[in-house]
């Protein structure tokens, strides 16, 4: 189910878990606003992760899982949980304006 909502003054489409359904609608102001809603102020370390997972999505069609982030983003898993408490891969994907990373089945 997609709902239309306003983020950082612009209309965007989000799914029922708050993930972008159309990543081209996203911009960095929206990232800051969505992060703030989760109680996160984006630092350079956050941006490293957000850009990494967005880039993964653009290249491979799915955002990174926590393990992939830990291995390849340059931010270790422990720190990922400090930056994005509870669910780093999902929270980073939401902020990065991409669909929910395809979990493994």
């Amino acid at each position: 189910m997609t709902t239309t909502t306003t983020v950082a003054g612009t209309t965007v489409d989000l799914d029922d878990e708050g993930f972008f359904t159309d990543p081209t609608q996203w911009n960095e102001d929206m990232a800051r606003e969505m992060a703030a809603e989760e109680g996160i102020e984006l630092t350079d370390r956050h941006w490293t992760v957000v850009r990494f997972t967005r880039n993964e999505y653009l290249q491979k069609g799915t955002g990174a899982t926590v393990r992939m982030l830990g291995k390849a983003s340059g931010v270790p898993v422990k720190e990922l949980y400090q930056l994005f408490p509870k669910a780093p891969a999902k929270t980073a994907a939401r902020i990065a304006g991409i669909p929910k990373p395809r979990g493994c089945i």
Partner: protein, 418 residues
């Protein structure tokens, strides 16, 4: 000139691919070589039963070379690396380099317990076990035998894992096992998973979640194991939550084969090989194909998936060799019996687009889906001879198509989730 096909891995995928190819091509047309580092073919679904004394480790292992038809060369050697540009497989030791026209990566998934802090430290194989290896399953059988009560924790560290339903089956069988021993009231069983619920797919997750509850098994969802403290008897999550245990059964992280990581350009960050999810051609080179757990495709890492992939894979290798376009025929079909204890099992059947639904399989008068029954348990037990005698030889199983059947499924159940 003879075409050379090299298959890396002599497990489910490699064996059925080799046998299917051998039937399709004459030996003077195509030379088939299977490489594996050992000669032990493990019937992996059998590992689940070993800890409960329902299966002997030696009964589920057979020689790999004996499962291969005549006219297939078996090389027992570890792969050092694949040179993708040169179309060569370099082996360790004295074995000569193998050139190939088509390469099939069928080397499965590997357990990497050492990637989790503390998991292989104090307590490993004493009160922290896994049943995902023959040695682990056998050691756990002894430990369960000696267990007289306390906290048993079953933990999945992170996905992907082989056979994602096996940890749940372990919980159900443990419930049955301790009931039979008359000490179920002294054992607390907990299932700690990184998933949001008991399973990945919503309708099945609801059914399996209610079964855990009905059997008095505690579910700890969204638990991401950061550290295992074997001496102190606790799992510590990255969010600092703790789950105490007296006996832990941990499903370690999985990765692809080590040689994949040593082969530039072949694998992803976890050493799985990215492949087209419908044709099974790798995204690395057009003459490299991938089957089974070794593949990075959005399907379960399970024997049934590997079996269903076989037909598509071999057809597409033939198309590739004939210079024809490949066919995107693999639909992600998976079919799993889930042991629920007390001589019963549940059956799920799904593909990339359809989640496990209730109904009957494969048609309206078949086995019950998403519902436990004695018939499904018999189905699971009967599967072992079918595996050795029909699936590995690469025969199509009667009544079981590679694509997911829709006839007996109740689709109405899915719509309420949308």
């Amino acid at each position: 000139m003879t075409t050379r096909i090299v298959i890396l891995g002599g497990g489910t995928g490699g064996t059925l691919t080799a046998n299917r190819l051998r039937r399709r091509y004459r030996p003077d047309e195509v030379e088939i070589t299977v490489v594996d580092q050992d000669d032990q073919h493990v019937y992996q679904p059998g590992l689940l039963f070993v800890p409960f004394g329902m299966s002997d480790p030696e009964d589920i292992v057979r020689p790999r070379r004996r499962q291969l038809h005549g006219g297939i060369t078996f090389v027992e050697a570890a792969v050092d690396h694949v040179d993708v540009g040169a179309n060569e497989v370099h082996l360790q030791g004295a074995a000569p380099t193998l050139g190939y026209d088509v390469l099939v990566v069928a080397s499965g998934a590997r357990l990497v317990p050492e990637e989790t802090e503390g998991l292989t430290g104090p307590g490993w194989m004493e009160k922290v076990f896994t049943f995902y290896s023959p040695e682990g399953a056998a050691a756990l059988a002894t430990a369960l035998d000696d267990f007289d009560g306390g906290r048993l924790v079953v933990n999945v560290v992170d996905m992907p894992i082989k056979c994602p339903v096996a940890p749940l089956e372990f919980c159900f069988l443990a419930d049955w096992y301790f009931t039979e021993r008359g000490i179920r009231d002294r054992v607390q069983i907990t299932y700690a998973t990184p998933l949001e619920s008991a399973f990945t797919k919503p309708i099945a997750a609801e059914t399996l979640g209610s079964m855990l509850e009905a059997k008095g098994i505690e579910l700890v969802p969204e638990f991401n194991t950061g550290e295992v403290d074997g001496a102190g008897g606790r799992l510590i999550g990255y969010d600092e939550r703790e789950v105490p245990f007296d006996l832990a059964v941990v499903i370690p992280l999985h990765g692809g084969a080590e040689y994949v990581g040593r082969s530039p350009g072949l694998g992803d960050e976890l050493d799985f090989v990215p492949a087209d999810e419908h044709t099974l051609q790798s995204k690395v080179a057009p003459n490299i194909f991938v089957i089974g757990d070794a593949a990075n495709v959005p399907a379960s890492k399970a024997g049934s998936v590997t079996h269903f992939e076989g037909e598509t894979l071999v057809d597409n290798i033939a198309h590739f060799l004939a210079g024809e376009p490949l066919e995107p025929t693999f639909d992600g079909h998976a079919n799993c019996f889930i042991e629920t204890g007390f001589h019963k099992a549940l059956l799920i059947d799904f593909d990339y687009d359809t989640e496990p639904l209730p109904g009957r399989f494969p048609g309206p008068v078949g086995l019950p889906l998403l519902k436990d029954s004695r018939l499904n348990h018999l189905g699971k037990l009967l599967f072992q001879p079918v595996y050795w005698h029909s699936l590995l030889p690469g025969r199509d199983l009667p009544g079981l198509s590679s694509t997911m059947p829709t006839a007996g499924k109740r689709y109405a159940a899915a719509t309420k989730e949308d």
